[in-house]
């Protein structure tokens, strides 16, 4: 069984938000909503500054509170560890929205809760997720962490990395190379 996830090279990301537009068009995310976004973090005093730019989205956590708290089973862990919402089961109670430390979920105007799907419709066809496939700096990598030979596994062996708020205990599956 695969365990999908992403590795993002913050050294290369320029924060252009191409990943955001690509997700919007690919997944027809309605105006005013987004499944992925950017974080620009700057530390220091001018001119001695350090800046990290990250593209963020649902972390497809191994220990996903959003799935645990869902009363209908709409939120579930799908093949490859992808956390998904089944629209027809979702009652829009927003417990999952409140449970996600990354604020990765939102209520779709049609009533159900939505978020990043890792573009599982593309992944099934053997393609990269839309955001990964457009990124002009090639800073995003999508792959299978269960396969030690995969690019994502290798990157984590070779480089230093961090995840976002690991303290929340959700076991996120997006890693940021520094």
């Amino acid at each position: 069984m695969a365990r999908y996830g992403m590795v993002i090279d913050t050294k290369k990301c320029v924060g252009c938000q191409d990943c955001v537009v690509a997700c919007k068009t690919e997944n027809q995310v309605p105006h005013g909503y987004s499944r992925d976004w950017l974080a620009y973090e700057t530390i220091g005093k001018f001119p001695k500054l350090n800046m990290e730019i990250r593209t963020e989205r649902c972390n497809h956590c191994d220990n996903p509170p959003c799935v645990y708290c869902c009363p209908t089973g709409a939120s579930h862990i799908s093949d490859g560890g992808i956390v998904l919402v089944e629209h027809d089961k979702c009652i829009g109670c927003k417990a999952c929205v409140a449970s996600c430390p990354y604020d990765a979920r939102f209520v779709h105007p049609e009533g159900y809760v939505s978020k990043c799907t890792f573009c599982e419709h593309r992944v099934k066809e053997g393609k990269d997720p839309a955001c990964v496939s457009v990124c002009p700096t090639h800073c995003m990598y999508f792959g299978d962490f269960d396969d030690p030979e995969s690019e994502v596994s290798k990157l984590l062996q070779e480089r230093k990395y961090h995840a976002i708020i690991p303290e929340a205990g959700t076991k996120p599956h997006i890693y940021y190379l520094t």
Partner: protein
């Protein structure tokens, strides 16, 4: 089997739609298209037009509706990936503020009042042709002029030349790349051109002077920039603002604005005094090196520190870093370089430094681009135009070229009527109100006109001043000339319609052809439509048109691009060498070796206004694109934290800017940050629209252009240095 035949079917119907729109005579309404749209997925290659980089793209339709657009993997510019603007390009189709029909200014209304009546194409074109005939009979053909930016203007310029007018200019020279091209031409006898011939991906060390790659989102450069980062290249960023690129740099030099020449000269000083420049290259190809060496002796890092505020040690370290990695090391020539009016000399200093690094046509330095030789479609010769160009009377700017001309030069002529009156402007795809400095002058010039025609896709500021506004089909709805840009490997890429125009918009080639017909110049457009034209020229050049339509891009032959691959180093200067000392400039009465002059400093309480790009917007043309404006719907003014504190301004607060001439802008949000020096503020260019017809962008954010009432003209080539304006804060919003 089934799948194959289905795909075939889709392709065929794609071609049908494509040629139907190309004919331009069938004016389909959206409903009709929907009715005829077949189910399923259809892909059509084309090339992007959200900026001038022209990346190859593939648009996808789902059930006849535009779904998405992606990079064409065969295209060397996009390498299968578009920039955010390209990806969001489909938003131009659904832009709520698009122009829908031709418009003629309401009788009795004044220019700029934005009062128009909808008319038919025939009425609009007849109106224009009548006026053009009037102008010709009253003043002569030379009194018609055009401002045209980008690929699309080609056929309109053709019509205009057939009419006998040659005063055709673009903002891409005097407001953009001009000084760089002249500076490099003077030094190396070669242009930089677009796309820039910089071998970023193979470089070991690169210095960016301004050049905010990553915000400046010219696709291939950004892709290569990230490759350079991945290869651990040393990146040196010189910028008063901690740009995105600065965040990736090994060395960040927070330079005092306007003092770059001092830094460049002291880099020369270090390289020469330490003997770490490329001696062999200088010996083989250099001219006037001794004079240069002598001249830069005085420009020590200690001297430069006083001017630039950059520590001498940092200046030395970066000069050494550049030299250590030569020839796979370069100083980026920049693109938007019209900053302070001495920009040709700064560009020359950059060219000189590059030659000290011996990087011309070297791997990791500059490369030798090539392009396809495309034959011309035979058309009758233009009438003789034996008059002086109006933008540069008496060769006032000796090195101003003819190709793009001088927008501001032409504007001066329109205001003064000298050397002869200019009475008609055709403005294609350039928003002169925002792109030229001092809009008051632009408006004054417009008020001298008998005819102002604006061809645009949205009612931008300039359209509000027009007598006639012509709505063009967006790039996804039309054919255009091939993209045949000089690049690492030559290639040809096609722009073809992906979807029909939703309203009564027409492609530029159709407009140009119909206008020519109205002027009795129809024979200058002997092609039936652009499909016909494109087929003819591509097949003549030996490229299969059918394949181009299907694949979008065809690569030309591979040629050596650097010495390592077998290319030669040729310098087309007078001396045939790299001119460290320019006798050409000397003859013209300019400094043969660049000299530093101190920039004027802001009065107390004022800050220098700097501007630049945001990755998801292009100038003043994307703010109404719903996909892109969603990412950023207003710009902010960057203010250093300490300054903000001192002035009691808070992050996120709305303020107004007031410039040295008392011009007050619209309200703009403050971004209080560490990421900028204390003596300047920064804004993304293109916001603060004042055209009421741009409902979704009207007065969102602030306009840098409005604050640029002062500009310093480069005496060599007429470039307009615009980083010379000072602003202060008005907090009572």
């Amino acid at each position: 089997m089934n799948a194959v035949s289905r795909r075939k079917f889709l392709k065929i119907s794609a071609a049908t739609i494509a040629s139907a729109t190309a004919l331009g005579t069938v004016s389909c309404t959206r409903d009709k298209i929907k009715a005829s749209a077949e189910k399923g997925i259809k892909t059509i290659p084309t090339y992007c037009n959200i900026c001038f980089w022209k990346c190859g793209a593939i648009a996808t339709l789902k059930d006849g509706e535009l779904w998405k657009i992606e990079g064409n993997p065969v295209d060397p510019l996009s390498r299968g990936r578009l920039c955010p603007r390209g990806t969001g390009g489909i938003g131009a189709y659904s832009d709520p503020d698009r122009l829908k029909t031709p418009l003629i200014r309401k009788k009795g209304s004044k220019r700029g009042e934005e009062e128009f009546v909808s008319v038919t194409w025939d009425e609009a074109l007849t109106y224009i042709a009548d006026k053009m005939n009037d102008i010709k009979s009253k003043y002569g053909a030379q009194s018609m002029a055009a401002f045209s930016h980008g690929t699309g203007g080609k056929f309109l310029k053709h019509t205009l030349k057939a009419y006998g007018a040659k005063n055709i200019v673009a903002p891409s020279f005097a407001q953009c790349r001009g000084p760089r091209e002249v500076g490099f031409e003077l030094t190396n006898g070669n242009f930089i051109g677009s796309p820039e011939r910089t071998d970023i991906k193979d470089t070991k060390c690169m210095a960016l002077i301004g050049s905010h790659l990553g915000e400046n989102m010219h696709n291939s450069q950004v892709q290569e920039f990230s490759e350079a980062i991945a290869n651990d290249a040393s990146i040196i960023v010189v910028d008063p603002r901690f740009s995105v690129a600065a965040g990736k740099a090994k060395y960040y030099l927070p330079i005092k604005p306007g003092t770059d020449l001092a830094l460049l000269l002291s880099w020369m000083n270090v390289m020469i005094s330490e003997g770490i420049y490329d001696k062999k290259f200088v010996e083989d190809f250099g001219f006037g090196f001794e004079q240069l060496a002598e001249e830069v002796k005085k420009y020590t890092p200690e001297w430069a520190y006083v001017e630039t505020g950059i520590e001498p040690d940092l200046i030395r370290a970066t000069a050494r870093e550049l030299a250590k990695n030569k020839p796979a090391s370069f100083i980026h020539p920049g693109r938007h370089v019209t900053w302070y009016g001495d920009d040709t000399q700064r560009s020359r200093a950059i060219a000189i430094l590059n030659s000290l690094l011996g990087n011309w046509n070297r791997k990791g330095g500059f490369y030798e681009p090539s392009k396809v030789s495309l034959p011309k479609y035979p058309t009758p010769a233009y009438p003789e135009m034996a008059y002086e160009k109006a933008d540069n009377p008496g060769k006032k700017w000796p090195l101003l070229g003819d190709a793009e001309g001088s927008t501001t030069g032409l504007r001066d002529a329109t205001i003064t009527g000298k050397p002869y009156p200019i009475k008609g402007w055709l403005v294609y795809a350039t928003n002169l109100i925002q792109s030229l400095p001092d809009e008051r002058e632009t408006i004054a010039a417009i008020n001298n006109l008998d005819l102002l025609v604006v061809i645009d896709v949205i009612p931008n500021e300039i359209a509000g001043y027009a007598d006639v506004v012509l709505p063009e089909s967006i790039y996804l709805e039309r054919h255009d000339e091939f993209n045949n840009a000089p690049f690492r490997q030559s290639f040809l890429s096609i722009r073809q319609p992906v979807i029909a125009s939703p309203d009564d918009q027409k492609p530029n080639w159709w407009i140009a052809k119909k206008l020519a017909e109205k002027l009795g110049l129809g024979h200058y457009h002997p092609w039936k439509n652009l499909d016909d034209y494109l087929r003819y020229t591509s097949e003549k050049a030996g490229f299969s048109y059918e394949r181009l339509k299907k694949e979008g891009v065809i690569l030309g032959p591979k040629k050596p691009i650097n010495v390592e691959e077998g290319a030669t180093q040729d310098f087309w200067t007078k001396s045939g060498k790299v001119e460290f000392y320019s006798t050409h400039l000397e003859e013209l009465g300019f400094d043969p070796i660049p000299k530093y002059t101190k920039p004027e400093q802001p009065p107390s309480g004022y800050f220098r206004l700097l501007f630049g790009r945001a990755p998801m917007h292009t100038f003043s043309m994307t703010q109404t694109n719903p996909l892109l404006s969603e990412l950023m719907d207003e710009n902010v003014v960057w203010v250093n934290n300490d300054v903000a504190r001192q002035y009691g301004i808070e992050n996120g607060q709305y303020i107004k800017l007031k410039n040295q001439d008392g011009i007050i802008g619209s309200k703009v949000k403050v971004y209080a940050t560490e990421r900028i020096r204390t003596d300047c503020v920064f804004m993304v260019h293109g916001f603060g629209h004042r055209s009421k017809a741009l409902k979704s962008a009207y007065l969102k954010g602030g306009s840098d252009s409005l604050m640029v009432t002062k500009y310093k003209v480069d005496p060599i080539m007429s470039g307009t240095g615009m980083n010379v304006n000072f602003v202060t804060f008005e907090t009572e919003a």
